[in-house]
């Protein structure tokens, strides 16, 4: 039976020759991830069941990135639970202090996740690793506890949707805009329970960082996973990092899809998602005059090197207005260091930005940039739900780093061309 890449990875990990959409399977998990919000609950369940040891200390990954550096006593207590657990279980992949980064930027960078893996994470944006040709999906804390104990988990094989992306990208258009455009098109539940497979000439030319942004937001369309078949770009990225041997899967030519959608990407302009759902997207040219109080550049969606460089291109020699809070958060220590080395921090600081240590921070309204009543932020993050970044009566607009940087300079949502001029 012909299969999609998602079905192939699931079948392999379930020890089956083939699987079909709707089938319930029990599958072996390669990597299981938890953070400072979700892991404490999983650890409690782990202990309740009387479990003593995780199934494999190299395969359980804990990253306290949401409320760290500990923002208050309660979050410090949550982090302590996972810190102690990581030490007790001698976990190889526990990242704390100066080693911590936003989990979904950190794991690929460290080569912890490799192509062909089956990954679960007690965090909805675990779907990010699909960019490397892994099956990767977000689950809850109880699921994480189950995997920590047994190394396996139940799955319902999803039906696959294929997104064929063609055409050359316009200037200032990145992976973020492609996925915002798709979510705007199919809605926040347009891919509910489904695998979103991205392919086509545009994807083949897309950078790894843009692929991560793209797959990162599959969950924002309700998708179970986003996935891109590995190619030369993937291999170049992973070859020097992979800590295990990996396997490359590709969809069969005659694999069955519930839906196939084609996009001409040369028509896609930078996108802005209006409050309070990621599906409320508009072209940057149709936004109008929207004053902004705070710009956040960072997160598991857009806190990578490409995002730092794009932001710097716009901010070079510019200064943000005095009422603007521009917060830039390199997603990992390596990105932080590299940005510093390339002189990007001089540009950011010169523009009047605040540079935060790697953390989720304001993305989930945690800390490091909370909004007051009535304030508006534009962020490169992935969710603009009611109250996501602070007060229930604040607003979040989503966009790519170029739009974010231009917005910071102008004090209102702005097209990058307004700041750097057409070249």
């Amino acid at each position: 039976m012909p299969m999609t890449i998602t079905e192939k990875i699931l079948a392999k990990h379930a020890g089956l020759r083939e699987v079909h959409p709707g089938q319930f399977i029990n599958a072996r998990v390669d990597i299981a991830l938890g953070n400072d919000i979700t892991a404490p609950i999983a650890i409690k369940e782990f202990r309740n069941l009387g479990a003593k040891k995780v199934f494999n200390r190299n395969r359980v990954v804990l990253v306290p990135d949401h409320f760290t550096p500990n923002k208050d006593i309660k979050s410090a207590e949550q982090c302590k639970i996972i810190r102690n657990f990581a030490r007790e279980q001698k976990l190889t992949h526990y990242y704390d202090g100066g080693d911590v980064g936003v989990e979904h930027a950190l794991l690929p960078e460290k080569g912890v996740v490799v192509p062909g893996d089956l990954v679960i994470g007690a965090d909805s944006h675990t779907c990010t690793y699909g960019a490397m040709g892994a099956f990767s999906t977000g689950v809850g804390s109880t699921d994480l506890a189950a995997v920590m104990i047994t190394g396996e988990l139940w799955f319902r094989v999803p039906e696959s949707m294929k997104f064929v992306l063609k055409g050359r990208l316009n200037k200032w258009v990145y992976g973020k805009d492609l996925i915002l455009r798709i979510i705007g098109d199919i809605g926040v539940d347009g891919a509910l329970y489904k695998a979103m497979e991205f392919c086509g000439p545009t994807i083949n030319k897309l950078s790894m960082d843009s692929r991560f942004s793209l797959c990162n937001m599959a969950v924002e369309a309700g998708g179970k996973n986003g996935i891109i078949s590995p190619d030369n770009t993937t291999e170049a990225y992973i070859a020097k990092r992979a800590e295990r041997r990996y396997k490359v899967y590709k969809s069969d030519r005659d694999a069955v899809y519930g839906d196939v959608r084609e996009y001409d990407c040369s028509e896609i302009k930078p996108q802005v998602a209006f409050p309070h759902l990621p599906e409320n997207t508009r072209n940057i040219t149709d936004v109008g005059n929207i004053p902004i109080d705070q710009v956040v550049i960072g997160s598991c969606t857009n806190g990578r090197m490409e995002d730092m460089r794009v932001s710097a291109r716009i901010l070079r020699g510019k200064k943000v207005p005095s009422h603007m809070r521009l917060i830039i958060i390199p997603a990992t220590p390596l990105i932080y260091k590299q940005s510093m080395k390339e002189g990007l921090f001089d540009i950011f600081l010169g523009a009047g930005a605040i540079i935060s240590p790697p953390t989720c921070g304001p993305c989930l309204g945690g800390h490091m940039g909370i909004l007051a009543e009535g304030e508006r932020a534009l962020a490169t993050t992935n969710r603009n739900f009611v109250g996501r970044m602070g007060h229930p009566k604040s607003e979040v607009y989503l966009a790519n780093p170029a739009v974010a940087a231009a917005t910071a300079v102008k004090g209102r949502i702005a097209h990058p061309d307004e700041v750097v001029g057409k070249r």
Partner: protein
Amino acid sequence: MEIKGKVWKFGKDIDTDRIIPARYLNISDPKELARHCMEDDDPEFAKKVKSGDIIVADKNFGCGSSREHAPIAIKASGISCVIARSFARIFYRNAFNMGLPILECDEAVGSVSEGDILKVDIRKGVINNITRNEKYHAQPIPPFMQELINEGGLMKWIKRRLTTS
């Protein structure tokens, strides 16, 4: 499993930040979480809910984050069951894994009003609206999910498998 309670109605795409805002995610105690359940929509919600009450919502209930704090807060607030047109997938998993009964039923969502009294047979997926004297049939729950409910959630299911193997 039979449930009887009063309906609290919500709209579509109720995300996990609305069920339990992130500012409370530094807590994991169910009772404390329950106090803040749905608070940005209705600050009095936790006080008004009585044990056994039922949430009826439109499509894509529980979208957004994977936080199990959301179904935990709902369950600990006394809500006995959530009925919606559809659920976001991680919420769906979490609810079954931790033993919060949920049903998908277009008909009920279209006909039920806030304050109605429902009697729900989870296993059969039959929803009786006592107030309106109507009956709705929910989507059947897949056999594996039935098994999880019967077992009392994923951890109990695992425990049984570990002790019998």
